[in-house]
Each structure stands twice: as structure tokens, then as C-alpha cells.
Amino acid sequence: MSNLEKYDGAFIEALEVEKEQLEGLEYQQIPSWDSVGHMELVAAIEDAFDIMMDTDDIIDFSSYEKGKEILAQNYNIEF
């Protein structure tokens, strides 16, 4: 499974969204991406990539695109 597939899968599972909704998706834009959903998403990403995210990154993780940027820059995950 590619990193992008893992990343998308975490979103789809944690936030119960469709793949088509991912591009441009932002925190609090949909009901399931509230603070609870956010922590579920973080947990799903941590499991998918076997990482532990830094608190600042959890806070900065504000969108689908921003998340990819954070993972690439701070966790060496290539997409």
C-alpha cells in the first residue's frame, strides 16, 4: 500500500468520508472533523505510519493538504 493510500485510508476510516471529499478538506468543515474526530484521525495516522505525532503538529494539522506537508517535513513520509 502506498503512503498516499495509507493516508487517505486514515481519513476515510476516522472521519467516515469518501475519497472524493478529501481534496481541500479542512478541520471543522464537516461534522465528523471536530476535535473528537481530529484525535481519531491523528490516532489512525499514527497507526498507519507507526509514528507518534508531536503536539505542535497535531495542532497545526488543519487540512488534508497540510497534513501531508507535516508528515513529509517532520516524519520523512514521502507522497
Binding site: D34, V36, M39, D54, T55, D56, I59
Partner: protein, 193 residues
């Protein structure tokens, strides 16, 4: 009721509301983001100041302002109708990041169960307020079937959830782990100094 103390967290602090918070508390309760799910307050500024003065003397009613670590007010949260064993929770309106929002509620529950020694916090949440319902569940809340006795607030049918001390203690470790992880990158940087 004025609580002479600060509920200190890593991301937010909770303190009792003061008269100087009148404009802020009014503004946040008139914000469309929150008036969808909370009764809108139609007070004038003077009325809100009077309400706060009254609230600070009211037994069994705690109203906290949530501040981030920069000292900025980002929301409110309350515990009221306190008895020997339970209270109602509400007045939850927070404009924070996920960790600030979750910690504010966490500190509030800690206050209820550890400082006030209550057994239950009861919440009446608008049926359509999925976010608040999920929030209550995150802290071990359960839905209570009210049968034919619907609670209606401001024209909205409410669902009742109960957060018990026992359930909170059970979930507390998981929430703490979520909230209080180490700042790994900063510590690595500090280690390189």
C-alpha cells in the same frame, strides 16, 4: 459562584468569570457558530454585567472563562445546579484548537469529580448538536432515554447524556495520553543545545 482558583492545564486555563468578561461572554453567545446549539443571549452589556455579578454569588453555579496560554479568552464552560451528587454541564462555547477544546472539558470534569466530589455531570444537548454529543461520549458519557419526557430548550428537543465519575476515571488515562504527550521535536532541539 466564584471559584477562587485557576484550573491549570497545558493548553488552557479555566478561571471564574468576572465583570470584565461581560462583553466577551455576550459576544461568544451571539456568535452564529454557537447560537445554532446554545440558547442565544439577548442581554445588553449592562444586563450581562449584572448577570455575572449575580452568578458569582450564586451557590452551586460555576461559570468559567477558558483562556489559552497566551492569556487570550477563547471560550466558556459551566457547571451549574450543583447538588451533593450531581450537576448539569453546559455553556460550552470554545474557539480553540482540538487540544484546547478537549482539555477545557477535561479540566471541567476533573473539577466536578475531584474538587466538587460529584458522581455525575448531566448534559442536555440539542439533538442536532452532533459535536457536543460526540464530545460527551469521548469522556465516557452515555445517553439516557427520557421516554416520553422530552426536554426542550429554546425550542430544540434535547438529548440527555450523563458523564459519571467512574466512567471519567476509566477514560481519563486515555485522554491524558492524548493530551499530554511529549513535545518530542522541541525536546530533541533542546537536547542539541
Amino acid at each position: 459562584m466564584f471559584y477562587d482558583g485557576l484550573l491549570k492545564g497545558r493548553y488552557v486555563d479555566l478561571r471564574s468569570v468576572e465583570e470584565g468578561d461581560a462583553e466577551f461572554t455576550l459576544e461568544i453567545r451571539q456568535d452564529p457558530e454557537f447560537t445554532r446549539f446554545l440558547p442565544r443571549i439577548e442581554n445588553t452589556l449592562e444586563q450581562q454585567k449584572n448577570w455575572i455579578q449575580h452568578q458569582r454569588n450564586k451557590e452551586g453555579d460555576y461559570f468559567f472563562v477558558v483562556q489559552n496560554k497566551a492569556g487570550e479568552r477563547i471560550g466558556t464552560i459551566g457547571l451549574f445546579d450543583v447538588t451533593d451528587t450531581q450537576c448539569e454541564g453546559g455553556r460550552l462555547a470554545i474557539r480553540g484548537n482540538p487540544l484546547e477544546s478537549i482539555e477545557a472539558q477535561f479540566l471541567s470534569f476533573q473539577f466536578a469529580f475531584e474538587k466538587l466530589h460529584l458522581q455525575e455531570v448531566i448534559n442536555y444537548i440539542y439533538m442536532e448538536n452532533e459535536r457536543a454529543l460526540r464530545f460527551s461520549m469521548l469522556f465516557g458519557g452515555v445517553f439516557v432515554d427520557m421516554g416520553t419526557e422530552a426536554v426542550v430548550k429554546d425550542g430544540h428537543i434535547c438529548r440527555k447524556t450523563v458523564n459519571t465519575k467512574q466512567a471519567f476515571e476509566g477514560i481519563s488515562h486515555k485522554i491524558s495520553k492524548m493530551l499530554y504527550r511529549q513535545h518530542q521535536r522541541k525536546e530533541k532541539q533542546d537536547g542539541n543545545k
